[in-house]
């Protein structure tokens, strides 16, 4: 009986002891090292775009456990490839497309999410290919100004990858009237650029650019004339009589800018006509091949005129002085009592000719106490003026004004 008690006491005693011995922190028993060994092997650390390289994953054993992945990280993002469960050497199935874009590629080998190996692959751009993308602007510049223009080019390889910094681009250009010039520039941040200042002559700056065997489309920058400079106007044709049907023809010399370039076609020129220092007419024309021509109507009275031209910006011409003599030589007046009309004519001009139609005629008939004016226009050399039916009879003084001539006389109206 007692030994049973002892055994039970021992069991009861040892149990808790053993139990408590099992609690607490487990002991740091080191586990065997089972990290798989793997690595990435690159055939080459750099390549040209479009030229794939072989990339391998190497493993110690013939078979592998766990999940092995390869991470391809480039400027376009990340791509994850899961490797098969075979060991040894595995050639990674990287698609050819991946090798077409330039930049640094980060390759990472992972096992169960843990990075095992890292490698880098540099994909460089190929030689320039095809048409070089180009932009030129401003499209126009004014000759002799401080304006500038620029052409930029972006040479690319056959996959659209820009050239690296330092890549040479050759610009060939010619200014109007000058020999072609060559300048080399280097690509910086994808772009090669060249600036142009204005020259002396108007015309087109032609620009070509090339990089290796790739070429840009021809660009043009137009050099336009500067502001017009003072110019000369000449009298081309004049009939110096007060016949408003005739025209004065005035033509300028070739209007140029300060560099001698003809002003652009369509440049508006204003011609001002002054009489007694007052402006009485303004005519407008525009240049064609640098020359402007205008047709100004003669006055309908004797006058001394000054004509000058101006372009906006106070660019003036010389002044032409003109004088106009009397046009009408004879203009008899008669009264027709049956129809109660005044007939002026035949009105003749300075060559003895019948004046043309539409010449204004003014007739004033007056008594000491009253006067009345009638106006009309010639038709086939005559002008008919209707008198009111109740026009009083009497001996009137008359004056006729037409074509710069004034005639007076007496008229009996019955």
């Amino acid at each position: 009986m007692s030994y049973r008690i002892i055994i039970h006491a021992l069991m009861l005693g040892f149990g808790p002891v053993l139990f408590f011995m099992g609690c607490g922190s487990p002991s740091a028993t080191p586990l065997p090292d089972i990290t798989p060994k793997g690595s990435i092997l690159l055939q080459d650390s750099s390549t040209i775009a479009g030229e794939p390289v072989d990339i391998y994953a190497l493993f110690d054993s013939d078979s592998i456990t766990g999940t092995w992945t390869i991470l391809w990280t480039d400027a376009f993002g990340e791509t994850i490839m899961t490797l098969p469960q075979q060991g040894g050497t595995i050639k990674l199935p990287i698609p050819e497309e991946a090798f077409k874009k330039t930049g640094m590629v980060q390759l990472t080998l992972c096992h169960n999410g843990k990075i095992i190996d890292n490698q880098q692959l540099e994909i460089k751009s190929g030689p320039p290919f095809g048409v070089v993308e180009s932009y030129a602007g401003a499209k126009t510049m004014v000759v002799g100004s401080s304006q500038t223009a620029m052409e930029i080019v972006i040479p690319k390889d056959q996959f659209g990858n820009p050239m690296p910094d330092g890549h040479e681009v050759r610009f060939n250009y010619s200014y109007p009237g000058k020999q072609p010039e060559v300048k080399d520039r280097q690509v910086n941040n994808m772009i090669a650029a060249i600036t142009f200042g204005t020259g002396e002559n108007d015309g087109n700056i032609l620009i070509g650019a090339s990089s290796g065997k790739a070429m840009a489309i021809e660009e043009t920058i137009e050099l336009t004339p500067a502001w017009p400079s003072a110019f000369i106007i000449n009298l081309i044709s004049l009939i110096p009589y007060a016949d408003p049907r005739q025209n004065i023809i005035i033509r300028s010399n070739t209007i140029t800018d300060t560099k001698g370039n003809k002003v652009s076609d369509g440049t508006v020129v204003h011609f001002t006509v002054l009489e007694n220092d007052l402006t009485v007419a303004q005519f407008r024309g525009f240049t064609s091949n640098g020359i402007v021509e205008v047709y100004i109507q003669n006055p309908d009275h004797t006058a001394d005129w000054e004509i000058k031209a101006v372009v906006a910006g106070d660019i003036k011409s010389n002044t032409i002085a003109l004088g106009f003599e009397v046009y009408v030589q004879q203009m008899p007046i008669t009264y027709n009592p049956a129809k109660k009309i005044l007939v002026v004519g035949p009105v003749t001009g300075h060559l003895g000719q019948m004046v043309t139609d539409d010449l204004p005629i003014e007739v004033t008939v007056s008594l000491p106490s009253t006067s009345m004016m009638f106006s009309g226009k010639t038709d086939n050399g005559f002008c008919t003026l209707d008198l009111p039916s109740d026009f009083p009879k009497g001996n009137y003084d008359y004056s006729i004004k037409a074509g710069g001539r004034n005639l007076t006389g007496k008229l009996n109206i019955k």
Partner: protein, 1019 residues
């Protein structure tokens, strides 16, 4: 007998199909509304459940119009095309309509008279007008179903036949899905009298004859049937609400804000006789002769309800002829509803009695009476004359468009469609001018969007809803308000992404030209395309209003289902109860018992004779009074109206035969005149004052004529000599310009410009190297001015570039706190295209409401917040257009105190069609004070001149509020200062020489000339 009646009915169907079917193929394209319905049908055809349509205005919902007809045409179009689908449905509805008249008439006038009514329905001028002139297919469909519904409801109430209620309700449901207004008003005008008749006949049956029926019997019967009638009414309301629920939802959630648009049906028909013709005489037609018979019949006890209906509809259909319709409907309803529908319904309600009249005339008592009294021949001639009149009036209405065109000539839309679909032109909105209702057909054939449309109830743009303008495209017919409305869109097209205008009317050429639009090309169909530069394209995502999906499903499923189910129900019950219906539904009217009062014939004869006498003598009197040579006033008015309508040969006949030139000489002299008034104006009013001539038989007419052009109103004064020869007056020929140019042959240098645009023909892409830089322009000055309470910004711009520049100028006005009050664009007060080194003045008026000019025209008060600051935004684009510059001004002088006179000279080789003079007034410090335009009346031929005479504005009332500076003047988005620092401008811009003409000690003026040439119009 029954068989004979049926034969007449089938004859009516056959004649109806032959007459309307054959003619509709030629008339429907000239109607007002057919193309609108085709447009809606096309919408459903392309996307059945889509509720939003982008094509008109800035988009609208198609649930704004009951869809049945459109959806049916859409379904038919899948097999036979849209137009054939329209015709097929029309043919079907013609048959339904004739049947409707027949069965409707049977309950009122008996079978035989109903058969005659059916035949007469074929020749009804009201129906012909609605179908062949108005093209109102949905309302015709609605009334056709309604007429068929009425007898169903009659027999339901009369004989307690429940299945007739079902058929009647199904037909009313079809009516609602076709045209809801017909259901709503149809309940009052058609259904209520029908139910009243049913109640009356129930009483009559109980009392064994209607002569024994008194009102108390009717009331007793009414109370008996009232519960079911109430239930019926509520059911109809529910059906009408349910079957087109999305329509009611739209009208509640998006109520119409459109101001009332004038309509001829609201005119007084005595004052506006053309409205009386279209909206009264034509729809009633020959029925006017039988009005005494009608009003005699409808006062009979049994017809009292329909009598009230006809009388009310007759009265409402008279429009503004009496004040009663306005009083009865109220101002709002009167101005919103078109009242021609009431005349239409009145004439349809009268058809049964029209049939009864012919029955009496051909077979009944009148036949016997006339034959006994006057003989067979007289009766035969009289009957023949009436029948002939019915036939001729019907044919005249059907062929109305041959007598009076209601639309412009037919336009081939294909070239326009091709243009819009090419090169991404449909990335912008377009507008049509002078297309009439064919604008809807163009919209049907293209997916491009228009800023205008043909269904004004759905407009939401305030610029349109605040104007009593039906469409922009016929603005010239709408007076000043129409023109102002159009001008607003032409001034600010970028606001609506509006880039292209297709013009079929040269009336609008001047406003398009001077508002900066460029004539692009003329298409093979003679439509001119005008284009505006520098307008941004439509956004890729446009705003739209969505309705709940359940409503879209309802809209797409219920209406067409109602039609199918309704037709099946009627067919089923019709076949099932065919024989029973034939027996039960005979209506025999005992006319024999009706005594004809001896006064009736006398009254009727007097009516016929008086009516004929009135028409005959009235016509003769009116013809005599309106004969053009009868009075001087007639002559002058006729002459100007002939000129207005370009009827020159007729105008020539008004000249004195003894003194006038030959017709050829006259036409040649007219053709030389040209100008905005002779080519682009519509005559508005004429005032004539006469003074005695130099001889007794002579007069001098001092005429002041007001002309409406697309640019502005003109007043012209004319002194015309008149001579009386015998009884008639004649005009003495005028003197025309005699000036003979000095040269037989002219040589003038010119410059051509061309902006290639795309040099490589690549669709849908513009290469950057083809895009030209914006040309350099410079704002010389700009100032905010106040003149008599109105505010404007005046200024000057110069083109400093070497290429021609198109200018768009926008001014923003701000209050004192810097809040923007308005943004307004320059209109015609600028030369929109400047050659190199050319300057122009400009003036932009402050217009915060967008319709200030209209407010002024209507003398409405428009409270204006004063602007204190402003900013000018000038944009330029290289222009490839050549503009005429061979002009000058001479003999400029002041006469009196306020009149500026001078002459415009054209020394070049081309004819100026419409010259514009821009007068810029300066003070002696060269401060620009004011800018005003002037358009001389006539054109200017080569080597000729035109005088001008204008009133100088009162410059003392002009106050300079603020001058612009570098900060608030922007050119192509860049401040003026930056522009100046980078531009090669030789001198300080402030010293540019400006006004050459010194008018007096304090005023100087500059005159700039722009010219629309013959090549820039379609002359």
């Amino acid at each position: 007998m029954q068989q004979k009646n049926n034969r007449y009915f089938y004859l009516a169907l056959l004649i109806g199909l032959m007459l309307h079917g054959a003619t509709l193929m030629f008339t429907f394209e000239g109607t007002y509304d057919a193309f609108v319905h085709l447009f809606f049908a096309n919408h459903y055809s392309e996307n059945w459940f889509e509720s939003w349509n982008y094509q008109w205005y800035t988009g609208f919902t198609v649930t704004s119009y009951p869809p049945l007809v459109h959806q049916v045409i859409a379904l038919l179009s899948k097999v036979v095309g849209l137009k054939a689908g329209f015709l097929i449905w029309s043919f079907f509805i013609v048959l339904v309509f004739i049947r409707g008249v027949y069965v409707f008439s049977k309950i009122w006038v008996g079978e035989r008279a109903a058969a005659y009514a059916a035949i007469l329905a074929v020749f009804s001028t009201a129906f012909g007008e609605a179908l062949h002139i108005f093209g109102q297919l949905p309302s015709i469909t609605g009334v056709a179903f309604l007429l068929n519904a009425c007898p169903e409801l009659y027999w339901w109430l009369r004989k307690d036949l429940r299945y007739r209620l079902l058929t009647g309700l199904s037909l009313l449901a079809m009516t609602s899905t076709a045209h809801h207004v017909t259901t709503i008003f149809g309940m009052v005008f058609f259904v209520l009298p029908t139910l009243g008749l049913a109640v009356m006949n129930r009483s009559a049956e109980k009392k064994q004859g209607e002569q024994n029926v008194h009102f108390k019997d009717i009331f007793r019967e009414v109370f008996k049937v009232l519960p079911r009638v109430i239930v019926f009414g509520l059911t109809v309301i529910f059906i009408t609400a349910f079957v087109i629920f999305p329509y009611w939802y739209w009208s509640k959630s998006d109520p119409i804000t459109q101001v009332p648009i004038p309509h001829g049906s609201r005119d007084s028909f005595l004052e506006v006789t053309s409205s009386g013709l279209v909206f009264f005489l034509i729809p009633w037609g020959m029925m006017l002769f039988f009005l005494p018979f009608l009003f005699r019949e409808i006062v009979r006890k049994r017809n009292i309800f329909v009598g009230l209906s006809i009388s009310l509809a007759f009265l409402l259909g008279t429009g503004g002829t009496t004040p009663l319709p306005r009083m009865m409907l109220g101002e709002t309803a009167f101005n919103i509803l078109t009242l021609d529908r009431f005349t239409y319904w009145a004439s349809l309600l009268s058809l049964p009695f029209w049939g009864a009249f012919f029955y009496e005339l051909l077979e009944g008592r009148y036949k016997n009476f006339l034959q006994d009294k006057f003989g067979y021949l007289f009766r035969f001639v009289l009957t023949g004359a009436l029948c002939f009149g019915v036939l001729v009036s019907a044919l005249s209405v059907i062929n109305f468009q041959n007598f009076r065109a209601t639309q412009p000539d037919k336009i081939d839309v294909l070239p326009i469609v091709n243009f819009l679909e090419r090169d991404k032109h449909d990335d912008w909105r377009y507008l049509t001018l002078g297309f009439g209702d064919q604008v809807a057909w163009l919209s049907t054939n293209t997916s491009a969007l228009s800023v205008d449309g043909n269904y004004h109830s759905v407009r939401r743009l305030p610029e349109m809803t605040t104007r009593a303008v039906e469409r922009l495209e016929n603005a010239k017919y709408l007076g000043t308000e129409g023109i102002l409305s159009l001008q607003q869109f032409l001034t600010s097209p970028e606001k609506y992404n509006l880039k292209f205008i297709f013009s079929n009317d040269k009336f609008y050429d001047p406003v398009l030209f001077f508002y900066g639009w460029k004539k692009l090309q003329q298409l093979e169909n003679n439509i001119i395309i005008w284009e505006r530069n520098d307008v941004p394209g439509l956004a890729s995502v446009l705003p739209r209003k969505n309705i709940p999906d359940i409503q879209r499903l309802m809209w797409g499923i219920i209406p067409i289902s109602v039609l199918i189910i309704g037709l099946l129900i009627n067919l089923w019950f019709g076949l099932r109860y065919y024989k029973k219906q034939k027996e039960d539904q005979k209506v025999i009217l005992k006319y024999a018992a009706q005594k004809t009062h001896k006064l009736f014939w006398g009254t009727y004869t007097i009516w016929i004779i008086a009516f004929a006498f009135f028409i005959g003598t009235g016509s003769a009197y009116i013809a005599y009074k309106n004969y053009d040579h009868t009075t001087p006033t007639n002559l002058i008015e006729a002459y100007f109206h002939r000129l207005d309508f370009k009827n020159f040969r007729k105008a020539y006949t008004y000249f004195n035969p003894e003194t006038r030139p030959s017709l050829e000489q006259y036409l040649m002299e007219l053709s030389l005149e040209g100008g905005i008034l002779s080519s682009y104006a519509k005559l508005d009013t004429i005032d004539i004052a006469f003074t005695p001539g130099r001889e007794p038989e002579k007069l001098t007419a001092n005429v002041t004529a007001s002309w409406l052009t697309a640019l502005s109103s003109y007043q012209t004064t004319h002194q015309i000599e008149l001579t009386k020869k015998g009884l008639f007056w004649y005009i003495e020929p005028f003197e025309l310009e005699k000036r003979t140019p000095p040269d037989k042959f002219i040589r003038r240098p010119s410059v051509d410009f061309l902006s290639h645009g795309k040099r490589k023909p690549i669709a849908n892409k513009v290469e950057k190297r083809d895009i030209l830089d914006r040309p350099d322009v410079y704002i010389i000055s700009a100032s905010l001015m106040e003149k008599e309470g109105d505010y404007s910004v005046v200024g000057q711009i110069i083109n400093t570039d070497n290429d021609p520049a198109f200018l768009a100028v926008e001014v923003a006005f701000y209050d004192d706190a810097g809040n923007e009050l308005a943004r307004n664009n320059v209109q015609d007060l600028i030369a929109h295209v400047l050659y190199p080194k050319e300057t122009t003045s400009f003036k932009v008026d402050y217009d915060p409401f967008g319709h200030q000019k209209i407010a002024e025209a209507d003398n409405l008060d428009s409270t204006v917040i004063q602007p204190h600051h402003f900013a000018v935004f000038a944009r330029s684009l290289v222009s490839g257009e050549s503009f005429y510059k061979h002009t000058g001004v001479q003999t400029v002088r002041i006469e009196g105190q306020h009149t500026l006179k001078g002459e415009v000279v054209n020394y070049g080789a081309q004819q100026i069609i419409v010259p514009q003079l821009l007068f810029s007034y300066y003070d002696t410090d060269h401060q620009l004070l004011w800018v005003e335009p002037y358009y001389p009346q006539g054109g200017i031929r080569s080597q000729r001149k035109k005088p001008f005479s204008i009133k100088i504005p009162d410059l003392n009332n002009i106050k300079i509020l603020k001058n612009g500076n570098d900060d608030n003047l922007r050119i192509n988005g860049v401040s003026r200062k930056l522009y100046r620092e980078n531009q090669f401008i030789p001198i300080a811009p402030d010293l540019y020489p400006t006004a050459p003409f010194q008018l007096n000690d304090s005023i100087m003026v500059d005159i700039n000339i722009s010219a629309q040439m013959a090549s820039q119009s379609d002359e």
